[in-house]
């Protein structure tokens, strides 16, 4: 039954004949009855009207806009791989945006990278890979030691070189690497400098001490308290801009993460699916592959109901 007829029914707009038709339909199958009950429940649920009058969004924005002051920098926003179909177009747009916003300077092995509104993925002179997040700045000097100064956020995949250590300096924090993938988050204005290890091993030093981190660990340096503390990496992490990692993350968290990254909507057909905990990592995979892997893991079915809307179904965990 289409939702217009059900809406007429619950809104009291249907005449006697139509009401009877809807009730016959509902009596014909349990699924129909549930459908009708859900609509009636929804109608009942919305019985309490709004508590406050509607707001004026334009006026509210004007007020907030005045409060936060004039725009500091306005860049064109380039949509990054929102949908697979426009990926090439997006890639072309990103390249042109980078041409405007990224400054490369090569001098005796020195490199300087700056990003404004887009991610930058590049290879440093020692063959290490770096993904620089928007609004970040990185300077690299590859001499006897490989030294990188970072302001902002970056993910590194460091090329192995036992003779020349790879050192990242992020404010008060120094990270010495022994061939590994890790992330440093150190914005000028942020209170905490964060180092997070995906694989391998790093040493983090600050004025108050040092810690060694293994895969799946992170350390935070509190600038105000001058304290370095070790912590667990959260259960759902994005490395760089495209490497996704889940460690016993609930399906609800997974769906949420995929929603923010890919702009797709993922519905779980029943509650039991939410209990499934995913441990997996995806390196630059398209959303279709990711969902396939997840559904294989838990014996679920993936149904694509629209271009950017998926439904997962199954017995759950």
């Amino acid at each position: 039954m289409d939702s217009e007829r059900l809406a007429r029914y619950v809104a009291g707009e249907a005449d006697a004949a139509e009401r009877a038709a809807v009730e016959r339909w509902a009596a014909a199958a349990p699924a129909n009855r549930r459908e009708l009950e859900a609509m009636q429940a929804l109608w009942a649920l919305s019985a309490d009207g709004p508590a406050i009058p509607e707001v004026d969004v334009d006026a509210a924005w004007a007020k907030l806009s005045a409060r936060i002051g004039p725009a500091e920098r306005t860049g064109r926003v380039v949509p990054l791989h929102r949908r697979p179909a426009v990926r090439w177009l997006a890639a072309a747009a990103v390249v042109s945006a980078l041409a405007l916003t990224v400054l490369f300077r090569y001098e005796q092995g020195a490199q300087e990278l700056t990003t404004a509104t887009a991610y930058l993925t590049t290879t440093l002179h020692d063959s290490s890979h770096v993904v620089l997040s928007p609004g970040s700045h990185l300077q690299a000097r590859m001499g006897d030691r490989r030294r990188v100064a970072l302001r902002g956020e970056a993910y590194f995949e460091v090329a192995r070189d036992t003779v020349r250590p790879f050192i990242v300096e992020a404010g008060e924090v120094r990270v010495t690497v022994l061939g590994t993938g890790f992330e440093v988050i150190a914005y000028d204005t942020s209170r905490v400098v964060l180092v997070r290890v995906r694989h391998g091993r790093v040493r983090v030093e600050a004025d108050s001490g040092r810690v060694e981190l293994l895969a799946g660990e992170e350390a935070g340096y509190d600038r105000a308290a001058r304290r370095l503390v070790r912590a667990e990496v959260p259960s759902s992490v994005v490395w760089g801009d495209r490497i996704l990692q889940f460690d016993r993350a609930s399906m609800a968290q997974v769906a949420e993460r995929l929603h923010t990254l890919f702009g797709v909507r993922i519905d779980l057909r029943n509650e039991a699916l939410k209990r499934c905990e995913l441990t997996a990592s995806f390196d630059n995979e398209p959303i279709e592959t990711i969902l396939q892997v997840i559904s294989d893991t838990f014996g679920m079915k993936v149904e694509r109901v629209a271009k950017d809307h998926f439904i997962l179904d199954g017995d759950g965990c």
């Binding site: 939702s3 809104a11 609509m39 508590a51 406050i52 609004g135 959260p234």
Partner: protein, 189 residues
């Protein structure tokens, strides 16, 4: 990437987020604080802080999930600050706690419902509210908004469909509640 753009200082992304979430957030907050100006102030302040402290934000969920959680916490704090009487008698205290919990659940539910309604596209929202809260007939809604009855039907159908999907997790509970009432009362009454 919405969150990262805001953290990076992209004001357009910030404005977009504000325009998308402001109305639903205010309706949501309104259910807790029951005062339009206070609800708006609270949401305004949250967005102001979000922009000011954007580099310090450790948002691991979606922006939407973060905003609603933050608004709820602010509301609970505001309501708490207004004070609630606590009786000394322990039995009475338990009863009051029980009542307060039920009330909190009710508030949380209707806050989510109102937020979902306010997130509907403009025409759909108006149609739904005129039908549900002003009790207008489709014909009257069509006249009021200067649209056809067919459009009203269409928008009502879509509104209910969207709300049903958006509030799916609240519905099974309510259905159970209705069935129970039906069993007790011997019919829909």
């Amino acid at each position: 990437m919405e969150v990262q753009r805001i953290i990076a200082g992209d004001r357009q992304a910030f404005e977009q987020a504000f325009r998308t979430h402001y109305r639903p957030l205010c309706a949501f907050a309104g259910k807790y604080v029951k005062d339009g100006d206070q609800a708006e102030d609270l949401v305004q302040d949250l967005f102001f802080r979000l922009w000011q402290d954007r580099e310090r934000m450790a948002i691991t969920t979606s922006l939407k999930a973060y905003l609603f959680t933050a608004v709820r916490n602010r509301c609970l704090n505001a309501v708490q600050a207004m004070g609630r009487m606590r009786p000394l008698d322990e039995d009475l205290h338990d009863q009051v706690e029980e009542g307060a919990r039920a009330e909190e659940e009710h508030t949380a539910r209707s806050a989510r419902v109102q937020a979902a309604i306010e997130a509907l596209p403009e025409e759909r929202r108006k149609v739904f509210k005129l039908s549900r809260y002003e009790g207008l007939k489709y014909q009257e809604i069509a006249q009021r908004l200067g649209i056809s009855v067919k459009t009203v039907e269409n928008q009502m159908g879509k509104a209910l469909k969207t709300l049903r999907e958006e509030l799916a997790d609240l519905l099974p509970l309510i259905v159970l509640g209705l069935v129970w009432r039906w069993l007790k009362g011997g019919g829909w009454g």
